[in-house]
Amino acid sequence: MERVDIGKPILDRNERLAAENREAFARAGVFVLDLMASPGAGKTSTILATVAALRDRYRIAVIEGDIASKVDSEKVKAHGIPAVQINTGGACHLESEMIRRAAEALPLDELDLIIVENVGNLVCPTEFDLGEDAKVMILSVPEGHDKPYKYPNIFQISEAVVLNKYDTMGVFDFDEEEFRSVVRSLNPAAPVFAISATKGDGVEAWAEWLADRIESARSRAAAQG
């Protein structure tokens, strides 16, 4: 019997491909947002609201990740936005290789922002780097304020938290103060944006945060030549 030391990340291959994606996106000057949430939290509605807020300023495309179907990409395309559907065929998260293949179908040089809608899941997408510039999560009010206790990791790795379906606050027993305080203890730097994606309320502040992130990525890239 021989012991062989390996000492490398288990997701080495995913991380290498993610680094290649990140380089390709940076070369093309595209900002990539990985949007994570449970099924039904309003990822596609939030994307459409975000697109509506930013489409005058940025050239946007969407990568839709789902286990099956083209429902979401068709919704996005109906708004005149290029969209690529990834069907994971059962996998509960996107991986960097899927993003690489999807990006090949997009005119990267003609884009400023790609929004990636990850597979609906609060657990699995957290471990996979896609080569994105920012990971952001959405929690919707009907899911309950206790979700950060149950799924802390996704709250810890997200740069911002969108609290969607804020207009239903009166209907559900959602303790906003407790929610915000747990999120703060898990991830003090992450802002929480309360929005109602389908009505447009609160979307502006969220879209401005995203625009700021895009601009600061650009000035960093410009500074590096």
Binding site: M1, V4, K8, P9, A91
Partner: protein, 137 residues
Amino acid sequence: MHEMGITRGILEAAFEAAEERGATRIAEIRIRVGELTEIVEFALQFAFESLTPGTLAEGAKLAVEHVGARSRCGRCGTEFDHGRFDALCPECGNPFNEPVAGRELLITSIDIETPEGLADALEDPGPAAGAVAAGEE
């Protein structure tokens, strides 16, 4: 069940290292998993048992070493162990801390059998060694 993808990652790395050395079998794979990752060991073992039959790692043991969460305070520099929800500095209460440990997801080592290794194992207490020893007496 992203443990399936994680397990594929483990096996890819293990097979690569094993094949480089011409291994005939992988007996054990050791991994290190931090407490702050979203990995369920039960699901990992299940995926491992499902993916290994018919491969070099058929019947191998997957040994998981768990690593607790530890952070360094961004204000006073204290290093402290903590759980998933109480990452406040115990000295000054600062919540802005830098993780030191707990996010590991590493394959550390594997135990393999190689043809030479098997030959050594057979020869070691074998008759040839005994004959030489007898001849020297």
